[in-house]
Symmetry: C2
Subunit: 397 residues, 2 copies
């Protein structure tokens, strides 16, 4: 009989997701309109709306519909009683973002370090400390925390373990399990995902290209990775290892890559590779080093221009592989690439158009992300809402 | 009010698709079970089932369910009154396949030529002649033809125009429109798609890896292309140009490719490239030439083994790009690659494992397709069923 029960829970969740989806697209709307729009019967809709009202996920308005017939009480979504927390672990530090369930930002913090060489244990301790403070802040604003999602620049499997994060020097770190244990809050689900996969979620929901069905975001702050929305949905693949464009071999016997191979896109055109080509090494303060790079580029420094043009050509070839395989409508340059986009774009466009098989690069536009600093944690706050958007209601607080 | 009507038609189609989907997974089942499984109310289910019975897409059985309570009449799908026709335009000739709506094969024909140099007009005439004969054969078996889908080795846009098919020497051929006009059967929808995209559909529905959520099929008979199922759905991209892995540049300044670039995977490891490396040229009868190649490979001919090992290495690097970007669970070697799989596989596996960033190539298995000759037309018959599976009922015959 347990199968029977599970099935009924699934149906309830599917129906609840359909009601929430209808409200997201059409609100304000009546119960009758939800029933007509979803094909669910009115008793089911009334029962689901009751659950949503009780949890303050929807509220009734006094508006009436502008058509002939009896005025109906209308419903609108209300995300103000709930929040999620998104965190990014990067080579340049930790970022935390808190948003309510409607996407309104509640908090945004950045912490420098722990550095790339700190190792997983120190980083996990720093993430947990930041997450605890964020939980306290969100709760003191009267909101219930629905979940925490953490973005990492590396291969993350479906259990939230970091299989490989070359830029952080991590291998086989069971990050989700260790964070959850250290946090000690079984009421707050913790998930871990790839930073680029989370970043493209933010663009797909909140950016100027929101809703673009075939959208890619490319970042190169630590390694080079692509987050992919394909045919309207985030791409995940068999084990979760998608978008690893950084290890496309562009130059046989090219410069050594952190992965142990040679001539990878990442070794040629990641931010660390660019900084090393310009300055000969990576500083203790890469943030300051990046700012100097941008200043020199903006001042038409010839040496910097040459490095950026070469990096742009390599990025164009990497993006051409994405274009030939996925045919995206838009490729967004994220992170530091967004800040350097004006200098990278001409070489990217030229190489992309030369190396794409489809005319006009398959209609692809390459442009800068509008969230160069927060795409990953913002996408993480949206990702932590997944159980709710799939129809799993939060526990009653 | 037309929007309102369109909305209601959409809802009816969505609900009909849900009922068909439930029947496909669960049949035999009762109307009540369909209502419970889909969340639709019983009156809606009864009305939809009525439409399906009237069109002989489902039938009632006398079976009763094995549980306590009143016996219910059960429903099963019945595809025997309808058929679709799939056609493949290849460098080696034309193939036609007819299947009923349950996937049972009704006819399978192969015609040699028109050759690669015949041009679009002659090829379109040959396709139309073959399609007409197939329609007559299907109709004389008492079935209604629901649609015709044609697979082409090239870039096909969403209007069914072939933007570029380098292997056929075609540019900007409005194939769907010209086929439909020449066929003169407005009651039978004609669609055109990329051959590899159709081939992987056949594997996803009928092959030993049917249902694999992340599945790629690679073919190289004319150009080199990949058909992609990602997270359970065929990948289409912005304009329909996905899987063009053949023009990944593997060897800067390598051999000239038909696309005008150098060192593309296609120029190194397509079937024509392999035949040319072995024999110095492509025969008038490439089918016979391929059979000779296979015989020599099976007899451990050293020159052939060397060419196939090199081609396998290049294919392994091409597949690594797919693996790094898409993380498929299975990559199937289709067409001639399937017939040569035993000889290609060791070099493919070695190069793939070296060039993939994820451990163990992200869990990817590379193996031979079981439909080396018919994947594309078989996938095309399934593709022509798309309107029905999306809930658009056929016209009453």
């Amino acid at each position: 009989m347990s199968t029977q029960t599970a099935d009924h829970t699934d149906i309830r969740a599917t129906n609840l997701a359909a009601v929430l989806g209808h409200l997201r697209r059409e609100a304000p709307c009546s119960r009758a309109a939800i029933a007509a729009g979803t094909g669910l019967n009115k008793a089911t809709v009334t029962s689901i709306v009751g659950d949503l009202l009780e949890r303050r996920l929807v509220r009734e308005t006094q508006q009436t519909q502008n058509h002939v017939g009896r005025p109906a009480t209308l419903l609108v979504l209300d995300g103000s009683a709930y929040a999620t927390i998104g965190l990014e672990v990067g080579a340049r530090g930790l970022t935390a973002l808190g948003c309510d369930a409607a996407g309104e930002q509640i908090l945004r913090w950045h912490r420098a370090g722990p550095g790339v060489d700190a190792g997983p244990a120190k980083t996990i301790a720093a993430v947990v400390a930041l997450a605890r403070r964020a939980i306290t802040t969100v709760q003191s604003s009267g909101r219930q925390v629905l979940g925490i999602t953490v973005g990492v620049p590396g291969l993350v499997n479906r259990d939230g373990a970091v299989v490989l994060a070359a830029g952080l020097g991590w291998t086989d770190v069971p990050l989700r399990a260790e964070l959850a244990a250290a946090l000690g809050r079984p009421d707050i689900p913790v998930t871990v995902d790839n930073d680029a996969s989370l970043g493209v979620l933010a663009e797909h929901l909140y950016g100027p290209y929101a809703g673009t069905a075939n959208l890619v975001q490319l970042t190169g702050d630590t390694g080079v990775g692509a987050g992919i929305i394909a045919d309207g949905r985030p791409l995940a693949g068999h084990l979760g290892y998608v978008g690893e464009i950084g290890h496309l071999r562009l130059v046989p016997d090219g410069p050594a890559c952190g992965c142990g191979r040679r001539g990878c896109l990442e070794a040629l055109a990641s931010l660390p590779a660019i900084l090393e080509q310009v300055d000969g090494s990576i500083d203790d303060d890469p943030q300051h080093q990046l700012e100097t790079l941008i200043r020199r580029a903006d001042a038409d420094d010839a040496a910097v221009a040459k490095v950026l043009a070469e990096a742009g050509t390599h990025l164009g070839h990497g993006i051409a592989a994405l274009v030939n395989i996925l045919n995206p409508e838009v490729v967004l340059l994220g992170g530091a690439y967004a800040l350097l986009a004006g200098h990278l774009a001409p070489a990217i466009d030229k190489a992309l158009r030369e190396a794409s098989i489809a005319p006009d690069a398959g209609g692809c536009t390459v442009t800068a992300s509008t969230f160069p600093h927060t795409a990953t944690p913002l996408g993480a706050t949206a990702h932590a809402l997944t159980p709710l958007t799939r129809g799993r209601l939060p526990a009653r607080s």
